[in-house]
């Protein structure tokens, strides 16, 4: 079935400017695969080197975070929209993969 995926502003450069991409998929995982097959440059910004979804990348079906549903196995009901939403994390005192001691 046709699923609409909302693309956040920073990633639209990889979808030829499209804000909404429509793919054929029955689950969240299938929708992601279809999206990144069509736009392969999206892959490194959504997935880490191990091929897992980056920890700060979240997927919402309506108002529901799919992590609290069935993850990538979550079925997408007809007419539902999938949103890609970053959580924003960061902070200081981290260098070369090691903690820097506080003064």
């Amino acid at each position: 079935m046709a699923v609409q995926i909302l693309i956040p502003t920073p990633l639209r450069v990889y979808t030829r400017g499209e804000k909404v991409v429509t793919v054929e998929a029955g689950t969240v995982g299938e929708a992601l695969r279809a999206l990144t097959e069509r736009f392969p440059e999206l892959r490194r910004h959504l997935f880490n080197e191990e091929g897992r979804l980056r920890s700060f990348v979240n997927l919402y079906l309506g108002d529901e975070d799919v992590r609290y549903l069935q993850g990538e196995e979550t079925p997408i009901p007809d007419g539902q929209t999938l949103s890609i939403v970053p959580s924003i994390a960061g902070g200081g005192r981290w260098s070369s993969g090691r903690w820097i001691t506080r003064r």
């Binding site: 956040p8 502003t9 920073p10 990633l11 450069v13 490194r44 910004h45 920890s55 700060f56 979240n58 919402y60 108002d63 975070d65 949103s83 939403v85 970053p86 959580s87 924003i88 994390a89 960061g90 902070g91 200081g92 005192r93 981290w94 260098s95 070369s96 993969g97 506080r102 003064r103």
Partner: protein, 143 residues
């Protein structure tokens, strides 16, 4: 890319990051992009929601439901999320590796260094497309 803030926004950010010290403080920029200038029209000040309060001196989190709410507010008013800010208490206004691992290109990331409770250094960064590093951009403050 230039990030353009109004003086009133800068004052709000200063109060937020100095008030949050020694924890990191954060927020979201909403506005429009015109010819490479990110014009901030609205600020959302956000509570640092990093789970462990003791780690909030060097970590911050804006959870996805906050970003989703900001995105919906922006779309409803013809704006976009332009980027985010956070403070580095007693630490330079430079992105850390941790910042880099948790960023996307295009967004403007403003980092404010807060030394002994005072906001001292303001720097804007943008992640390279290959994710290898941040590039420093220009912060413009207008009346």
């Amino acid at each position: 890319m230039i990030l353009r803030l109004r003086q009133a926004h800068q004052d709000q950010i200063r109060a937020h990051v100095e008030g949050g010290y020694p924890a990191e403080a954060c927020g979201i920029f909403l506005g429009r992009e015109v010819d490479g200038v990110r014009i901030v029209e609205r600020l959302r000040l956000v509570d640092n929601r990093w789970a462990d309060p003791e780690e909030q001196t060097h970590r911050f989190l804006i959870p996805p439901e906050e970003v989703l709410a900001a995105e919906r507010e922006a779309v409803a008013e013809g704006m976009e999320i332009l980027g985010f800010f956070h403070s580095h208490p007693d630490h330079p206004a430079r992105p850390s590796n941790f910042d880099r691992e948790h960023a996307w290109p295009w967004y403007a990331y403003l980092i404010v260094s807060v030394e002994n409770g005072r906001a001292t250094d303001w720097r804007v960064w943008e992640l390279r497309e290959d994710r290898s590093a941040f590039i420093e951009r220009t912060l413009e403050v207008v009346p």
